[in-house]
Amino acid sequence: MTPNGAVAFALLVIVGAMIAHDLAGLLIILAATACFALASRRAIWSALAWSAGIVLPLALFMMVVWVGIVGRAPHEIAAGLEGSRSAATMHVAIICLRLFIIAFTVQAAFLHFAGWTPLRFVGALTLPRTAKKLLVLTLSLIDTILQAVDRARTALIGGGLITRQRSWRNLRHGWILVQTVWLTVITIVVGRTRDKWPVEETLARLEGTLAARVPGRLTAPDFGWIALAIAAGVAGLR
């Protein structure tokens, strides 16, 4: 499978999940995504856990609002019906499953390229040069934020404000961590963009590195997975 094939599959699945009408349709799309993840021959539990972790807060919030407080589904409200909590529960389940499929599909795509570096992955995509550069910059910003979290934790733990392990003290001072992280991100980015990048023309260099990589053509397995994604999407519409 090529990165282009994986991205095409993921995009089709996401579109399918967005337009699927009901739970059954979403479950069909989820099954296709699960097959895709299993085909990577890597452990998928962590991808499932991460996706669930992303959806869980939203699910809890929506359950409280729609099932606990409103007690009716949006379409029932629009139709002026009395409605029921079971319809509201179904509405929450569909929204959350949709989000879960999107998160899981992205993770499943990365499972196929677990041994690849981000630069290699982005370089192998058929995209305009500027889009590739923006993608690398976005990925680097994620790394920068993670680096800032590490630096901020070092500062606050070393200063005795918070502890490495979970504690009430950490909850109490969580906002200081958030503030420190953002100050750190700004410092890191300013440090790079003020001196290093302009004098080295680093971004032009990155563009050259990406341009030197020739994207691979779609292969037979790519077409197979794309066909499955389309089939699952169509089945989801029925």
Binding site: P118, A155, I157, L161, T163, W197, P198, E200, E201, R205
Partner: protein, 383 residues
């Protein structure tokens, strides 16, 4: 190799950047990671890939086996390793000019000698190096620029630092310490050491040996995989209970601020530490100490200070005597000779008052001014 000499605030960094702009594009290694590495790569392999030129034709500078680092995130390398990686990238690139702003000070003696030798014979390979470094002697005949405006604004007077209160001695016993970073090699394997108060311990070892990691374990920033720490004969687990034994001045000063301004940093530490029974000096005492370090306003925004001034301010907590141990990671980075000597004397006074000191420095001259016991970190052990 061209050396830009001069004391702090004499305009060395500005002169270096001006020369690099004249030669742009030119490779640049700044004093800390955000100005040493590109920041565009998620792995060491990608960092090398970004800089590798199709035809470089020059001898690669390979002080480390970078193949074993390929999957590591560049930001997780030690300060010295990051500088070595940057030099390696330069050697594979097509840049003809490299500017290094005090970054070589982070290298261990062996790697520093290798780097300077590589840069010195650059002319044979079409490389031109411009270096600002506080530990390279002034070349004969070179004009030393005078300090400029900010020198007076941030002038420090370490001799005026008030003697800290006599310390309640705190012996530290580390037993069976083991630690490794996820997916990495063993940094410590069943390492044991006893640190006695009133003494200075200098951690030595090659770049990446685990010197900073040891400090982070003592401060609770990292948790060991196995082993115990005792403080005054009682179990001490700073990663669980919080650090209340080591005043930590990190290698990069920006790794230790707990607020945006000095006043905010002090207030936050005070609110937590005093609740835990640790007495902090009064705000007036801390303001006086900060003034000795060159910062005269508690409202000073920390991130707006020049790096040299930030580094000096990072010594505030160790020198305040707030905790029984002072831990300083490369405290002399970016500091000129006069300041380094004054700092060494201030640290020696701290030791004389009964405080324990853990020191990481590759600066032998600086270390020689402080009576210390060397602790070498190598092969997972501390000896």
């Amino acid at each position: 190799m061209e050396l830009i000499a001069g004391p702090n605030f004499s305009g060395r960094s500005a002169a270096l950047m001006a020369q690099l702009r004249d030669h742009a594009p030119a490779f640049f290694i700044g004093p800390h990671a955000e100005a040493a590495l590109s920041g565009l790569s998620s792995t060491v392999a990608d960092e090398i890939e970004i800089y590798r030129a199709a035809i470089s034709g020059r001898e690669p500078f390979t002080p480390l086996d970078f193949a074993t680092y390929a999957e590591r995130k560049p930001a997780t390398l030690s300060g010295g390793e990051q500088v070595l990686l940057a030099l390696h990238c330069f050697s594979l690139s097509g840049y003809g000019v490299i500017g290094i702003d005090t970054a070589l000070e982070q290298l261990d003696p062996g790697n520093r000698d290798r780097a300077i030798a590589y840069l010195s014979r650059g002319a044979t390979q079409g490389i031109s190096a411009i270096v600002a470094d506080n530990r390279l002697d002034q070349p004969p005949g070179a004009a030393i620029p005078e300090p400029t405006g900010p020198a007076a604004e941030f002038a420090c007077n370490l001799a005026a630092v008030a003697r800290p209160p006599v310390c309640d001695p705190a012996i530290i016993k580390v037993q069976g310490l083991s630690f490794r970073y996820g997916g990495g090699r063993d940094i410590f394997r069943d390492a044991s050491v006893t640190l006695e108060p009133g003494h200075a311990y200098r951690l030595t070892g090659v770049n990446g040996a685990g010197k900073t990691t040891f400090c982070k374990l003592l401060a609770g920033v990292l948790a060991p995989d196995a082993g115990t720490i005792e403080l005054r004969g009682k179990p001490y687990a700073p990663w669980k209970e919080g650090n209340h034994a080591f005043a930590f001045a990190t290698q990069n000063p920006d790794h230790q601020w707990c607020g945006a301004t000095l006043g905010e940093d002090v207030a936050r530490r005070r609110s937590v530490l005093e609740r835990r029974g640790i007495d902090l000096p009064s705000d007036a005492s801390l303001a006086a100490l900060a003034a000795c370090l060159g910062i005269r306003s508690m409202d000073q925004h920390l991130y707006e200070l020049p790096l040299v001034a930030r580094k000096r301010l990072s010594w505030l907590w160790p020198l305040s005597g707030v905790m029984p141990w002072a831990m300083l990671d490369e405290p002399t980075l970016g500091q000129d000779r006069v300041t380094r000597e004054a700092l060494a004397d201030a640290i020696a006074r701290l030791g004389a008052a009964g405080y324990g000191i853990v020191l990481i420095t590759h600066d032998d001259e600086f270390a020689a001014r402080i009576a210390h016991r060397p602790l070498k970190i190598a092969d997972g052990l501390i000896a």
